[in-house]
């Protein structure tokens, strides 16, 4: 049995519902679970706002020292750090599970996933690279950004349950317990950068180079879209799933807040895909859910008197720079 899941807090439930709806349309045989990094009982979510999907709350999967993780991470880091913990829960507690597929909540699945399920009969891991072909300009994001944050996009990963993947999940858990940070100078970029090691440390990895998998703002240079009779195509192949990373329905003119390469004027081929996403998020009440603060994340205090603090610390910073022998930004 294939189980697909996503992870989010209540503020992203419109996205998760949209993903769930798309899986229900295209792959009704796949069991879909929303891993919720939040507490429904504390949020007082009214019954009619519960998504019509299986919900598995973070405190139910038995993470050792969850408090420590919560104290250590912000909302993005925590939502990414718990990925292997959920996968292990599915492997260990749902005996029929043979494949686990993770999708970021901001993905829509447009096609049957039978190709992926067939691949998982031969491969233990399926990963999608950010880029399949070189990107020759230096706008954002470019190849250097991917070198700093990971060759594969971890908005998607598919695993076939095997000794290999069980070992990987355990290793990943250990890494993400305290090193699911964004610290580029030290090689860290949440859960994603660690996954670069998968094809090196483990066998049976398939790197999927189908242009219809994990199409997103970072690989638009190599993908042209079209729509015919209600079906979306990319480079004349069906779009299997599109990843709307960085899209904000409140700013519908921006493809993604993380890129500066394209806009919708240059890329009218993207409009049908995004128009549909905008409608779906609206229908799934994004405006309502987005206002919830995550139960697990303590609000960071705003420290006052920043100018005074800067002036006070400047001599110490200067001395430190001198010791380090180079300017510190």
């Amino acid at each position: 049995m294939t189980l697909a899941f996503t992870i989010c807090s209540i503020n992203y439930l419109a996205q998760a519902r949209t993903l769930g709806d798309s899986l229900r349309r295209t792959n009704p045989h796949i069991r879909f679970v929303i891993g919720l990094v939040d507490r429904l009982d504390k949020a007082n979510l009214p019954a009619d706002k519960y998504p019509d999907y299986e919900l598995l709350e973070l405190h139910q999967i038995g993470i050792n020292k969850l408090d420590e993780m919560c104290a250590h991470y912000n909302i993005t880091e925590l939502n990414t750090a718990v990925k292997p913990y959920f996968i292990r829960y599915f492997f260990e507690h749902i005996s029929q599970v043979t494949n686990v597929v993770y999708f970021d909540p901001d993905i829509i699945v447009y096609q049957e996933l039978n190709g992926l399920e067939q691949q998982l009969q031969q491969s233990d891991f399926v990963l999608t690279p950010h880029l399949i072909t070189p990107l020759n300009d230096q706008k954002t994001p470019n190849e250097l950004h991917h070198l700093n944050t990971g060759v594969y996009n971890l908005g998607f990963i598919a695993l076939h349950k095997s000794p290999q993947t069980v070992a990987f999940v355990k290793w990943w858990e250990q890494k993400l317990f305290d090193e699911c940070k964004i610290d580029l100078c030290n090689g860290l970029f949440v859960d994603q950068h660690w996954a670069d090691f998968i094809p090196v440390f483990w066998e049976n990895t398939h790197v999927e180079k189908h242009f219809g998998y994990n199409a997103a703002y970072w690989n638009l240079h190599e993908r042209t879209f079209s729509e015919r009779a209600g079906t979306h195509f990319v480079n004349e192949m069906p779009v299997v799933f599109f990843h709307y990373s960085g899209y904000d329905p409140q700013k519908p003119l921006l493809i993604s807040k993380y890129q500066d390469r394209f806009d919708f004027l240059q890329r009218p081929d993207l409009q049908p895909l995004f128009l549909f996403y905008h409608q779906e998020l609206t229908r799934n009440q994004n405006e309502y859910y987005r206002q919830f603060a995550c139960y697990y994340i303590k609000k960071e205090p705003v420290y006052k008197y920043q100018r005074l603090r800067k002036w006070l610390r400047s001599p110490f910073v200067k001395l430190l720079e001198k010791l380090n022998g180079m300017p510190k930004s």
């Binding site: 190849e143 060759v151 580029l184």
Partner: protein, 307 residues
Amino acid sequence: MTCVFTVCTAQQYPFAQQLGNSLPVGVLFKIGLVKGNLKAENTVAVEEIVIPDFDQMQARYNDDALVAACKPFFAHYFLSQPGVEQVIYFDVTTQLFGDLQLITTQLATADIILTPQLRWPMGKVTYGDEKQFLNTGLYNAGFVALQKSQNTLAFLEWWQARLTDRAFFDLCHGMYHDQLWLNFVPVYFEKVKVVKNEGWNVGLHNLHERVIGTKGENWWVNNQTPLLFFNFRECLYQSKNGTDILQKSGTNQLVNSYLKSIKLDKSSAPVFSLYQQLNPVVAAWKRWLKQKLLYIIEQINYFPIYH
């Protein structure tokens, strides 16, 4: 025909000679010389090959980055020589211990051969841990083997274009000379083989997972795989952790005999060491003062006046 080559400065020539001596007799061996004057029969000066923006590269890079950046240009040059079908690049600090054919036969089915820095998850060991390989490269650029093909030429052109202006040592911005770029290679190009044999490309960075020993006349890795080639680059500098790893992995004898054969002492060897860059020797008082300063800055930043 196979051409084995390395790229270095004139100062590093003794290393190149030692690499050449370790190769089988009759193998074509070339040395790409990036800086300095040296007339030896198997050297090719960088001025002899076509690098369109070499002047700018010279201006923007230090010697270490320049040597690294010229690698794909030399590879392309040697691959274009009449009769040459394969090229094998070794870092200048490499020595071959086994049969070169073990590499060339792999090129019958692959266009591009790379070796990973690490073979297995490492946990935390004295060398560091896995994350430092995430922004310095999954594959070690001290070895690349190439079969002549359109695919290989496309790879070299792609690598050349990047190394022309993005071969700095700047880990915070996704750059580590020529090496970090290799992360893309198995994704972008066809017929790429990552050889995970533990006897290939042994060096300080993977000695925590390998034990070196002799059986009869030959060196073996983990008591089960013949040692094919060893890169001494990171073993040339003395550090406490480095010494510990050499000791534990049984590599001291190997390193010492290498140093003796190139007649250099450890301190005078002018080769870039990543380990040294990442773990500079800092005097105790400096380390203490730095910690104090960081503590004071933190206190000023986070003294709780907030609403």
